[in-house]
Amino acid sequence: MSGRAEVTEKPVRADAPGRGRALARIAAGRRRWIVAAALLAVACSLPFQLVPFRVFQFTMVLVYAVALLGLNLLVGHAGQISLGHGAFFAVGAYGTAIMLDRWDVPHVLTLPAAAATAFALGLALGLPAMRLRGLYLALVTLAIAIFLVPLLKRFESVTGGSMGLTLGKPAPPAWTGLAEDQWLYFLALAVAVAAFLLARGLLHSRVGRALHAVRDNEAAAEVMGVRLSFYKTLAFAWSAMFAGAAGSVYTWVIGFVSPDSFAVTLSITLLAGIVVGGLGSFSGPLLGGLFVMFVPGISQDVNDAAPGVIFGLLIITVMYVAPTGLAGLAGRVARSTKKILRKE
């Protein structure tokens, strides 16, 4: 955020420069709100500008962004690697599907219920899992994601087995005058904005700092009074909750769930998405969502004989150009243009 702060430092009194900086911070804060409002305005106008198919694509971007927001909380902010977040996404998606399929629960209610289920599961798995460190945690979560697929197939009467479940989509209320795609888009947007605000509140607080502290130096964090197990487990559960909410919206949008939709690749894609987007940054999840959504298509346009060759290369290239993710790259670009502009 402040890569250019004064580094040659001598003991000084805090005086004018300190105050000036505070003012600048307030100004920057206001600027950020303006940017956010503009962004939201653009987001709201999108479905009226684009063909339905594009609207659908952006709806999915938002779905992924919500899941990545959760993963970012865990990986980017709390420093715990999960290779199994597809599992929580699946729990949210299947939870919603089952509620719709068996009990005809109204769509809106399925979201909190699915998120709560994912949260509870995250908590239950987080308790033992959080004793593990780094790589070991990552691989145990990976195993969970792998195990989920046959598990979903096993309980066929509930989950529809390998054939999956087909569900109805939420219909736009007549007063809105929106088409189904547009309505779904706005639902996803609402969820994404809510998730974003929640995550923001969380991170700009004592809790967020505690998570960062755990990420940066566990021993020191504990001495400062941060209860490691509590924060790690809850970060896991919250992150699972976001993934679950994303899964729920996914089911609304796609109207179909099957075990093969939630194979390990999804978990790995999510992790790749957030790392490519930018760990620990606010725009990371959105950029990651865009990457996950659009880059495979681009890869195919380049080489339709083996799109994987291009997709793999693109991942490598992005990491090469932007080792801290697209968000970091965007920040760098913004900074250097600002500098150039100032020099003129």
């Binding site: 890569g3 250019r4 580094v7 040659t8 430092e9 001598k10």
Partner: protein
Amino acid sequence: MSGDAFLAVEGLHAGYGDARVLHGVDLTVGRGEICAILGPNGAGKTTLLRALSGMIRVRGDVRLDGTGLARRSPDALARQGVAHVPEGRGTFMPLTVEENLRLGAFVRRGRGAVGADLDRVCAYFPVLRTRLKQVAGSLSGGEQQMLAIGRALMLRPRLLLLDEPSLGLAPLVTEELFRIVRAVNEEERTTVVVVEQNAHLALGVAQQAHVLESGRIVLSGSAERIRADEQVARSYLGYRV
């Protein structure tokens, strides 16, 4: 002096990313000399040593025994006989003490000589001998500092760069340390550049000294002259040990 300059630094600029730290440092150290660098917190002393051992990119000219060194990588410099005891000690935490020491001699050949040097270092710092098989990360701060110095000596360096070598050492060991530095310097004609806050001891062994402030050398001279400087006395020699 510069006739037999073993290390010659001219117009050295260095920094981190956008932050410039050194603004044109000139420095020569004669062969087999000990040179002390003093300076306040944040002056760029560590940065200077990092620049000399190739850890950061620099602009300017650095010559060791006549050959240009600027822009060489640290490993190439190590092969040229430059050993650096870095700020923060750079311990190989998961490795044992013995492995840490042997790594110091990584670029040397000849098992026998290395084994003898291992003994020598253990004689300098007897604690290390009792800890040879212990994981280095579990050593106390001071023990790790000794390990770092021992590791650097294992190279039998031509140029030894010491960044606050007495950091965290007990007074007794600190004194011993400077005796060792002098001994190594005398026996092997090792040239030494030492950044040290314990100015008394540093100036005690050094032939020449420089004061670095805000990335520039503001005062240079023989150790005695520097010691006699009033400003230096106030800043660096106030608290007597």
